[in-house]
Symmetry: C2
Subunit: 314 residues, 2 copies
């Protein structure tokens, strides 16, 4: 049984890596920029080079590692092929096969939100939960599901796409996915800003939000200060997300729902607005599902990557 493993999280702007021991202690962390030009053709080579350099500087040999768990912002097949990862310009990239060869160690590839959910279960605010939902509220809405301690991927790696739950019949504007009325059009960071701007445009009511930037952060700050327009926006956010999560918990029955991503930086107030509306819609045996802020921030993915290799018995 080998002592170390790697977690690698490929994002649209940077690639984060972490060297872990089997107990999940993060020993070293480093990152490199993501070169997305030319359909991301340099990414795999860049990962190889930076890994080789780091291992050499630490006096480690790839053979001493049990392997690397890799997260990708896209849909990943069961065979470890990236079906698509739009932000990287990748379509049908056999990442597991290619990286296994280049790194000279076993590799497993997963969707990044799924990996982050696994990381939060292992070392974050989901510890001691073998059934959880990890929701990231950022530009869009991502979600990873852990059921019975394992990532739920679905038939083609598309499970957990809760950002595309249809939640608003009255919305006509198209989502990236091609449909309209999707949860992430309204309850992501982008959605909060959109709802804030609608609220400002539809009245002359005074509001702290008229004084500067409209964002998830400023909306929750103004709501905390009692700004009634901001409170209405936050309530609407809680209504959309609470209703959607009530559906998710009656399908999945997790112990806990973890909220992460940029919007969660506003803190407990975000959970308060979600919980309030969640309870109206929740199936009673799931009413007391625990809502928690995620704990690992941007490191959740590399923790999950390491966990994936350890879990795999590597």
């Amino acid at each position: 049984m080998k002592k170390y493993c790697l977690g690698i999280d490929i994002g649209g702007t940077s690639i984060k890596s972490g060297l872990f021991d089997r107990q999940g202690v993060l020993l070293e962390k480093w990152s490199i920029p993501t070169r997305i030009e030319e359909n991301g053709k340099h990414i795999i080579g860049d990962i190889k080079d930076s890994t080789d350099r780091k291992l050499e500087s630490l006096g480690l040999d790839p053979g001493q590692l049990s392997g690397a768990g890799v997260g990708v912002p896209g849909q990943v097949s069961r065979q470890g092929e990236v079906l698509f990862a739009e932000n990287l310009g990748w379509y049908h990239v056999p990442l597991t096969e290619e990286l296994t060869r280049q790194l000279g160690m076993p590799v497993r590839t997963e969707n990044d939100a799924n990996l982050a959910a696994l990381g939060e279960m292992w070392k974050g605010s989901g510890s001691r939960c073998s059934n959880l939902l990890f929701v990231t509220l950022g530009t869009g809405i991502g979600c990873g599901i852990v059921a019975d301690g394992r990532i739920l991927t679905g038939a083609a790696g598309a499970a957990g796409e809760i950002g595309h739950i249809h939640i608003e019949d009255r919305m006509t504007e198209k989502c990236n996915c091609g449909k309209s009325g999707c949860l992430e059009q309204l309850a992501s960071g982008t959605g909060l800003r959109r709802m804030g701007e609608w609220a400002l445009a539809s009245s002359n009511e005074p509001s702290l939000l008229r004084e500067g930037e409209v964002s998830a952060r400023t909306i929750f700050e103004a709501a905390a200060a009692g700004d009634s327009l901001a409170v209405r926006v936050a309530e609407q956010f809680g209504e959309y997300l609470g209703k959607a999560l009530a559906i998710c918990t009656c399908v999945l029955n997790p112990q806990a729902v973890l909220i992460g991503g940029g919007v969660s930086k506003a803190g407990e107030i975000v959970l308060d607005y979600i919980r309030k509306h969640y309870r109206k819609y929740a199936y009673p045996p799931c009413e007391n599902t625990d809502f928690r802020l995620a704990a690992l921030g941007g490191d959740a993915g590399i923790y999950g990557g390491a966990r994936l290799m350890i879990e795999g018995g590597a």
Copy 2:
């Protein structure tokens, strides 16, 4: 490795049992009435007696069986305790423990809809799907989820309760669960009858449904005959169920959704109405999820019970 196993499905009116070989061939099938009086205190003893009699008549000894997989219409804990099964009058019944002792063979207990899903995956219309959703449309709406070939139970056995997805804000009448606007209030057999009666009461429009009983069967028959009032009810049914299933597939990404229960006896027309509305709301990568009628009818549960014991390596 033992040659036979049992599947037992405890329902509100009868208890069905099946003797299977390891390949899933149903060798014998029998049933007894469910005595629900006195909070169902006779049920376990009745199962023991009928099993003993049947095995004796076949010249089999309990020791020759790998065990019994048992389905219950209620919520079952991971330890095999029935937390509640209202139709049986059961609250906190340690069924696995008790039946293991009485039958003299290993027993595993599961929610009946979960077991039926497993049965359909094994020998029904879900064969070759390791990720599927099995939905029963009857008095209520039940659902079993199979993910990666295994039953998804959730943290406390409440996963798959899709009948309690909140789908209609305008509904004020209370559901059994205590909330209102639940899917099963509108898209179950009972819900179809309710919607049919509303449609009849709200107009004087002529309709075949004015001539007799209003039921799921008569509604789909009239819709097939072009009755415009019945078509509207069927469309509304498809809208509710299609929308809810679009959410379920974007959470779970199954290969197939199987539709069973009494309503499904109306045949392919039921799937047609669901599919039409499903496609409006589905996350595009899940748009082509296969909708199929379940194949095993009332035997799905006993097949699933047998499968559970074989899967468990018994």
